[in-house]
């Protein structure tokens, strides 16, 4: 329960990020729009890759657990 409320607090604290970006139009938003927006592609590819790697890590953990049970 404690963890859940902490997570919620953590997530909600980021609500204003998009507002911040619109205010000064700097930092991350600028970076992502520079260079023909190639950084957007990089972000997408890295996200897909980290998803696949997380899946591999999970499989690894599951198999380790199975090996310990045997």
């Amino acid at each position: 329960m404690k963890i859940k409320s902490f997570l919620l607090l953590f997530l909600f604290s980021f609500i204003s990020i998009s507002l911040l970006a619109q205010e000064d139009n700097g930092g991350m938003a600028n970076l992502l729009r520079s260079n023909g927006r190639i950084y957007v592609v990089v972000a997408v590819v890295v996200l897909i890759l980290s998803g696949l790697i997380l899946y591999l890590v999970r499989l690894d953990r599951k198999i380790t657990k199975l090996e310990k049970d045997n």
């Binding site: 990089v42 590819v45 890295v46 690894d60 198999i63 045997n70």
Partner: protein, 232 residues
């Protein structure tokens, strides 16, 4: 197999490949343009395949020397993941060549089907088919020891077959693929720009480590299965 430092290295190198590979400057080449960045992905698939097939062959020899079924499982799983990387290499290559080789002004290479007659592609297809046959052969024998022995011997021959079909013959015939009649492009340090080498070599190591990681997972599952069967 159970340590995690090389898995983390692999992950870091692959993520580095996918960011630096897009962001660093590449030399401007005729016809290729930005697609030269495929070097970090398409070529690395073949490198990973070659390394995985080599490990598979070594494990086949180890099986034939010791008759320990563990090595048979190793060699089969390394071969399967090698095949997956080979298919990925073939598929990515066919996309790449469709946009660089296919030339509407040159009737000899105006479509995918004419381009696909390139000796490098036929050689790669033969190599992959030889390995498909390995899987078919292995899974069609029911007796465990016989299966391990036959498929280990076949695996060594399949590995030997790789050399004429993907290394030698495509280099003897005129080919659109780099490394036709003028040497080995991938390992020629004069043929590749310094800034690209900075990503290319880590990329090879990274993709290979990811392949080995996937293989060890498959091996561990199969060892567990084997253990369960033998305890019944």
């Amino acid at each position: 197999m159970y340590k995690s430092w090389w898995k983390i290295t692999g992950v870091i190198l692959v993520i580095y490949t996918c960011t630096a590979g897009f962001l660093l400057e590449v030399p401007e080449l005729p016809a290729l343009g930005e697609t030269i960045r495929n070097l970090y992905f398409h070529v690395c698939m073949w490198f990973a395949m070659m390394i995985l097939f080599t490990i598979s062959m070594v494990n086949s020899i180890r099986y034939l020397r010791t008759f320990n079924l563990k090595y048979d499982i190793y060699s089969r799983q390394f071969a399967v993941v090698g095949i997956i990387f080979g298919i990925l290499g073939y598929a990515t290559g066919s996309i790449w060549m469709s946009f660089t080789w296919a030339d509407p002004n040159n009737p000899a290479f105006d479509s995918f089907s004419t381009v696909a007659r390139d000796p490098k592609l036929i050689g790669a297809a033969i190599a992959l088919l030889v390995y498909f046959a390995y899987l078919v052969l292995r899974d069609s024998v029911n007796d465990m020891d016989k299966r391990a022995r036959i498929s280990s011997v076949y695996n060594i021959f399949a590995y030997a077959m790789l050399f004429p079909s993907i290394w030698i013959i495509p280099r003897l015939l005129p080919s659109l693929h780099p490394g036709g009649e003028n040497g080995n492009p991938a390992l020629d340090t004069k043929d590749i720009d310094g800034s690209m080498r900075m990503v290319f070599y880590p990329a090879i190591i990274g993709w290979t480590l990811i392949g080995v990681w996937i293989t060890t997972l498959k091996i561990r599952v199969n060892l567990l299965k084997e253990k369960k069967l033998s305890s019944l």
